[in-house]
Structure formats: C-alpha cells, structure tokens
Symmetry: D4
Subunit: 167 residues, 8 copies
C-alpha cells in the first residue's frame, strides 16, 4: 500500500492473513486524513526485516507504530524495544485459544518497554487508529475537530438506531 | 499530591489502596520532569466526581490521563468516553481472580473508544508513565534525549548485573 | 419500542446487535404483562445519553433496569452508579473471548455499587426478566400467581418431554 | 444470630467457614435497619435442612434470600429453584481455583431459574446487602433516603481521602 | 425409554437437548447388556421431580446413577446429596464458556458428597457407561469378561487403523 | 503403610509430597473399616513400578484404585488403561497453575478409558474415599449403614454449628 | 506410511483423527529428506502397543519421537518416561476446551521427564518437524544448510507478499 | 558464572530475578558434566545484547540454548528466530497471572520458528537441562549412560521413599 504523502503512522502486521483485521485501522486513519502505510514484518519469520524497520522508521518520518499479531504475538514488543516511538498493539484471534495467547503475549510487557494494547481483533484495530489519532490530535487542532465530530457522530448514530430498534 | 508547575499528566485511581501500584507511574514521571498529579476518582463510587474530572481535565492543562483500577475496572473506559485525550489504563490485581477481571474489563473496549492497556500491576504502572513519555517526546527533543538515556541505562544495568549473576 | 402503558422495567443495551439476545427479556416481561421498554444506550459510545437515561429513569416511572452488554461490559455498572434502582446485568458473548470478558466486567463490581449479574446470553436475558418479576411479585399477588404458574409449567413441560425422550 | 424483629432478609451460607465473608452482608443490613438472620444450610451436606428452609422461608416472613457458597456453589440455585423469592448469590473463593468455580457454578443458571450473582468474596457480600436494600427501597421511602445518604457518603469519603492520597 | 428388565443404571439429564450426548452412555450400557433407563429431571426447573427420583431410585432397583448437565450443572451434585448410590457426572458443553462452567460446577463438590466426574461431552458420556460397567464388573464375572474383550477390541482396532493411516 | 488385613482399596500417589492430601482418603477409609494401602508410584518417574502395580493389583485383592497426582497428572489415566478396576482420580494443586493443569489432565480422558475425577485437593481426596465406600456399600449392608450414619452426622453437625454461627 | 530408508524420526499419534494435523510434521520432514514414519499408538486405548513402541524405538533406529495427542494428552509423557530419546509433543485441539486441556497435560511434566512442547495444532506439528531438524542439523551440515535456506525462504516469502499486501 | 571448558549449553534469562529458577538447569547440566554458562539478556530491555548473543552463540561453540523468562516471555522466541540452534524455553511464574502469560507467550510460536517449551518454573528448568542432555546423548554414549543411571536413580528413589511414606 502506497500513499501520496509520507506516512506518519505505520501499520505493521506479522502475516498477510492479519490484513482483514488491520485494514480497519488503515481505513480509519485514511478517513481522518492521516498518512499511513501497511507493512508486513514478522518478529519470528523475518527478524532482520523487522529490525531494519525499527532502525529506519523514525528517519522515514514514522511517528507512531500500530502492530498487529496473533498467537505468541511478539511483534509489538520487539518494535517497542528497538524504537522510542509509541507502539500500539492489536492482538489477533488466530489460534485455538481464541486470542487469549495473543492478548497476554502483548499486554504483559515487562517494566521498561511499553506496548499500548487494544482489544482483540477488528474492534482493537479500529481503536488503535483512534488512539493514534488522539495522540496526533494533541498538537493538531484540525484533527482534534475531526475526532470530536467522529465522537458526536457515534452518539448520533445510536440515537438514530433507537428509532428502529427491534423493528 | 501537588506539583509546583501545572500538571500535564493526570494519574487517576479508583481507590487509595491502588496508590502503592500507581506510585510507580508518578515516580517515573517526576524522574523525567513531567508535571503530574494524583487523583482519586471512582467510576462507580463517585461518578459525579469522575464526570467533573473529565469535563475539566483538558481545560486544566491535562494532556494525557493514566487510569488504574482493579476488579470490574471501568475507570479508564469511562474517562476515555468523556474526553478526547489519550487514556492509558493500568489493570490492578485486587480480587481473587488475580487481575484477569481488571485486564479484560479494561482492554476489551468496543470499537470507537480506545484505552491503551498496560500490563497488570507495578510493571504496568511504570510502563504507563513510559508510554506517556514516548507520546510527549514526539514533540519534545529534550524529553526524547532523556528517554534514550533511560533505555541505554536499562541495557547497561543488565550488563552490570551479568557480572554478579548467581553470586 | 413503545408500550401503551408507562414502562416500569427498562431493558437497556449497548448496541443494536445485542437486540436478538435482549429480546428474550422483553418477550418474557410482556408475557407476564409487565410494561417495559427497549433502550439503546452505550456507556462508551454515548455517555451523555446514558447519563441522561440515569437522571430521568426513576422520574419516568422506571422501577428496575435490565442492562445487556458485551466485551468490556460497563453499561450495567455505569447505570448502577448513577441511580438507586436495582440493576440486573446480562453479559453477552460478542468477542473472541466468548463472553468471559463481559461476565467479569459485569459481575466483579467493587463494594458499594451492586449489579445483579445473570448467565451469559439468552439464558441470562430470560432470567433477568424472571428476576425482575420475582422482585415485582414481592408486592403484587397477581404477578406472583403468574410466576408460580410459570414455574409449575416448566416442571410439567419436563414431565411431558420425558414421554418422547430419545424418540 | 437472632434479631429482635422478624427477619425479612435471610443470609444463608453453606459452611461456617463462609461466615467471615457473609458477615459483611449482615453488618450492612443491620446498619440500614433491615431485620436479617444468618442461616447455615448446605445444598450438599444438609439437603433436607435446605429444602425445609425453602419451604418455610416465605411463611416466616423472609422476602429476600442472600446465599453465599464456594467451590461447586449450588446453594443459591437450589434455593432459587424451590422458592419464588429473589435470591442473591455471593460466590466465595475457597478452593485452589480462586473462586472461578464458585462464580461459574452460581452465575451460569439455566433459563427459568434466576440467581442474581454478585462479585467474589467480601465485595460481593457487601453488594448483596446493598442490592437487597435497593429492592426493599422500591417500596420504602425511608430506606431509600438512607441508601441515597450512603451513596453520597461514599463519594464524600473519596473526596476526603484525596486530601491525604500518597501521604 | 423403557427396557424389558428392571433398570439398574439410571441415565438422568437436565434437558432433552442433552440427549444426543447422553445417548452415548445408553448405547454402550445396552451393548454390554446392562439394563438402563433415560430420565429427564432438572435440578432447577423440576426440583420436586428430581427429589422424587432420589427418594425412589434405590427402591426401584437403581444401583448407579449417571447424570449429565450443562452450564451451572448441579444435577449430579443434587442427586449425590440425596442418595447413597454412586453418582457419575457428565459435564456438557452447552454455553458460550464451552463447558468449563459445567465441568467446574460438577467436579468441585465439597468434601462429604462425591460426584465421579467424566470428560466433557460424548467422550464423557461413553466413559460414564464404562465406569458404571467397571463397578458392576467387580461382582459380575460375565460382565468383566465383556469389558476385557471391549478393551482388547479397542487396541486391535488401533492396530487395524495403522494399516491405512494417512491413506 | 501396612494394614493387618489384605487391602482392597489402593491409594496411589505420584510423589510423597502428595501424602498430606491423600492422607484424607486413607483416614476416611480406615474410619469406615475399609482395608487400604498407600502406594508411591509415578507414571513418569517410575513407569515400570507403575506398570507392575497395574499387573498385580487385582491379584493382590485390590478392588478399587484411588490415584492422586499434580501438574500433568497422568497417573490415574495410566492405571485405568492397564486394569479393569474402577479408578478414582484426585487432582492436586502443586504448580503455579493452581491445579487447573492436574484437573484437565485427569478429567479429560478419551472415550474408552474412564477416570472418575474428584475435586482438587483435600476435598477431593476425602470424596474419593467416600466414592469408593459408595461402590463397596452396593454389596455390603453394614458399610451402607455406616455411610448413612456418616451422612446423617454431616447434617447434624451443621445443625449444631448453626447454634454458634458468628459467635 | 512406509519409507524406503530406515526412519529416524517417528511421528506418533493417539488417534487417526489426529492425522490431518500431524501430516504437517511428516510433510516437512520429507521435504528436508529426513526418513520418518507415522505410528498410531494411544497411551490409553493401546498401552501395550505404546509400551512396545518405546521398548523397540531406539533399536529400530529411531532417534527422535514426535508425539501428537488431544484432550488428556498423555502420549508424549508416557513415551518420554520409557525411552531416553528426545520427545517433542504437539497438543491437539480436539475437545470443547479448545486444546487448553491437551496443552497443559503435555507441557506441565514433572521434573525428571521432559517433553518439548510445541504450539497447538498445525503450527505446532510443523514446528515439531523443524525442531527435530534443528537437533539433527547439529551433526549434519547438509541438513543445516537446508534449514538455513528454509529460514531465508520464509523471510523472502514475506518480502514478496509485501508487494501484494491488501491487494 | 564461568566454566573451565568452553560452554556448549547457554542458559539465558531475561532478569536476574529468574536466576533461582534457572539455577536448577545449571546445576543439573553441571552434575552431568555438560559445560554451560549463565547469560543475562532481555528481549525487551537489552535487544542489542540479545541480538549479539544470537549472532555469536554458534561461533562461540554453543550448541543448545535454554531460555527462561516470565510475563510476555519473548526471549526464547527471539533467540529461536535469529539462530538455527535448538532453543528450549522455560516459562516463569512472575506476574499475577501465575505464569499463564509466560507459558502462552512461549509455546504458541507461529509455524516456522520452534521453541521447545517446558513446564512452568523449577520443574521446567530441570527438564530443560534433561532435554538438552537427551539431545547431546544422541551422539555421546557416555552421557547416555549417565542419563540412564539418572533415570534408574529416580525410580529407585521412589522405591526408597515408599518405605517411609506417611511416617
């Protein structure tokens, strides 16, 4: 996935089978006009590629990393240990244990190296994008306005749905 | 807890029994020179106080919220739903279920309202501070330098400990 | 959903996707002639709407609230913290963790703010209605008679099914 | 435990080792002036006694039952199946599984027979009393006033504790 | 289900939806020539029927009870508390929690009232029958011979399947 | 442990650290006058000894085996696969996972080879003895009378404890 | 399954229903040119066959055993207790508990008898083969070269997939 | 820890607080005369040091790596992804979740990069050493003889303990 402007949020995933989940983050970032990229890099199956990603990310202009992975989900932790950027993790349900493995592998980071963990699956991917937007909106009033509008829209949508509830 | 300068990170907790855990976050923020405050506010036992906190936080200069809670840990989610600030959650082990309840109550937020969840307990409180620092360091080169020094120090500390390992 | 008489039980849910589960509660309340309403209000995505619901419920004549939600299921707790009405919670299986997240988020309320938690899913929604009826029947002999008849009918139904068991 | 007036809430427990937990419910009921009793009855070790309790409870004036039990915690369910009173359950952590067994045995009741389950342990026992009070307050304005005062007091207590937080 | 001779093993289940699982026990008992019956009785939805079953079972000639139930699976425990017969329990996966609730509700019986718990689902139902047969074979040499033949057959069947493994 | 008469129940355990738990079974069997023995045999650390135990047990007069083990608790299953005696299993909490490992390793036997699993720890050891007694009482009226007396005593004990409850 | 040369890795499974999972190990071993065999042997349903396998394996030239099983997965432990060969275990998701039972039954071996446990299901079967190959490559430079090529290929494959990610 | 001869097994741990657990592995390797070393290297807190360890290990003569870690235990996986040596993992109970987090983070590796996972804690550390010895014994008859003697000794020890069981 290429974007016209230099991406500032990198959405990394350990396998292309994670794309349908992580696409939720990419779609929302684009909707908010945040330049982003989709990167395939596995902590385990392509460690050199992942290490190169970490070494280059900040120089390439990346300001926030969103990392999605399943099972023994080490990707977010590996990236967090090799950059000083905020890393947001999305655990993915891709094993018989229904994602409990990915969640614990991601959230239980030792003191010193934080990973901001979101919910399992698509809800988490969506929230990873929104959390990146909350961070970027701290210094971008235009983005903050869009975020406030998005939040108002969620509430209005619920009011609309009330009208047809159970019908 | 008062600070001389206006706090920019608010460390909120649901009960004063959570203080020994959340103190890890406060201590680290102070070490990095980030103005912070400790606030007691329960999503359940003082909803009005919590709602007032949300209404005022941004105007008071708060830029990031760290929220710690145990059991049915709703505090971080409630704050995230009423502000547009980044909210970092610290689940606390304070029930027979060893914190699994707090972790799931905090991390499994529905799409639309993100909470950046850290590890259970003191490791999580420490990482919540470090994650706030990673965010602030995006636009503060002096803080970024301190963060890099902190990370180097962690690695050097390990090298030192190697010398006496098992002795 | 509107009812001809003023509703006394409010069945609140966090998302319209919860309706097929919560419908079990509504259907049973109607069968017992208890005036009820279906309300869509999310603790996270529409906090103001939820707060308004809490502020108005008792004045509108609501005597008992049934709240259903999935994942980090805070809805019942949020309502319980802002009213003095009995709040009955129905955890819903709507994430990869099969409802364990919703159950723990709902039942593990801190001392001071009770939520009466039922089983996961449709069995829980049905029982939420029956528990509301048990409460109302404390001061309504006609409803109590219907409840006793319902209980007798359950036992008779089992006796009937014995006749064709395995056939 | 005897009370001067006829008890209207019965606090039943499966073992006298559960008393230190269930005492929280008894103490709070007494504080609110709700006549109550403490009954020892095991679903498994004294089924006849439990069945007699169910047969007599309503005639003796009992309006609400609170039942606490650990491990395969059947007590609340057994009582709920033999009376039409509201039954509130308190799961107790008394096995190596830390109360997960008691919680699931109590909350996962089949459709038809509701048990209003509270949190594990003392928080749950306290909330069981408060939930009984919420029910009784539906038709007792004096009790409702006390409940509102209790809730205000919780919030004020938190405000007080803020002053000495971390000191 | 009727049998020509007086049944000595009673296979009880809490719901007719459990029949496809418990049928495994009935089929195996019949294959071994053990007279058996299928009984529908719910601990919660038909407590009187269940109590009558317990009161009569031994007089009717029942020597062993097999009880299958799901969710808050109290049936086996209730029967064990009201008879002195050996009670074998089969937990059934019939809720979102995948049978963990049924397993813990059944196996974690308090000291004093044993339930012999088998595996979840069909494997457990089959083994419940085989365990009943092991008990009956203690005093029945003909049944013991059949059991030994069954066990030999299992091993021979595996040897046969080796020949076509992966083909 | 030696007994004057030939033992008919063998209480086997995988480690002498399991003795304090399994002692509950031995004490209860002795109280009921059931000749028993305590055997140390590990499925993993002494497979030959365990296999010899299985080969000899029935010839030595053993009629029922009670097997206690922790962690990957294979002992009961290994014995059940090599004898036709009823095997009763007691899972023991001896690892960080609090016995969940032992419980699942014991109860989830595949179809064909039953293990009658009891509760974790001392409650389970006690119930293993009582379950063996229920089996033996099927053909021993004197033992049956003792069992009935024991059950009555449990209920009377509860009635006694009611008198001093909370005092 | 027969191979032209004498097998050095034996892939054992407890049931032919495990074949589709264990086939992943067999396919990978063959791809690397490691002579292997597929054996059906159940710890529970064919203990003699399993014991004979253990007694003969080393003499037949087997150097490493891979054992796959589900539920109370004792197979790997039983083999490890009766040989001195390295035993690699693959837990299989074949019960309602989604493989958690198999995983704990396999990995929680007591001190003294190691089983090298892999991930649940096909990923684990594949990794069991790769782990066997890592062991064999310690003394086989040609196999080591193939392993390095395989690892490089994994990384290259990811680079390729990047090109079409999300397309 | 230094050894006179060049180490061939490296025992790596993420924190010096893991030493009391991993010491079990070191002690057993030394008892068997296997040259070994103790290395402190964290996947997260010293990624460069860990990467250097991986780059050098084989050249330094290391043939097998044993890696112990707690919480989000990535160490073994990170090493396995950067060497072709067999990596044996020991999950350590060092968080409120009792090691379930470490176990799942270690064992649920994706297909392609195997980690041979042992039991939690000291039993696992001991077995990691024994598994390394089983591998080395494949090509070292003297070590194999010691291993056989060790296994015989375990069984004899059990026979000895039988004599004083319960005394």
């Amino acid at each position: 996935m290429s974007t016209e402007t230099t991406p500032i949020v990198s959405v990394v995933m350990g396998s292309d089978s994670d794309y349908p989940v992580m696409e939720e983050a990419l779609a929302l970032l684009k909707k908010f006009g945040v330049p982003c990229e989709a990167i395939l890099a596995s902590a385990h199956r392509s460690p050199d590629r992942t290490n190169r990603f970490c070494a280059d990310a900040e120089n390439r202009g990346i300001r926030i990393v969103i990392a999605g992975a399943g099972a023994a989900a080490h990707l977010a932790g590996v990236i967090a240990s090799q950059t000083t950027l905020p890393v947001i993790g999305v655990p993915i349900d891709s094993s018989p244990l229904k994602g409990l493995d990915a969640l614990l592998s991601m959230v239980q980071m030792p003191g010193g190296v934080p990973v901001a963990t979101m919910a399992l699956g698509k809800a988490g991917a969506k929230n990873a994008a929104l959390f990146a937007i909350r961070i970027l909106a701290m210094t971008d009033v235009s983005l903050k306005a869009k975020l406030e509008e998005y939040i108002d829209e969620m509430a209005r949508d619920l009011e609309e749905r009330q009208k047809t509830l159970g019908k």
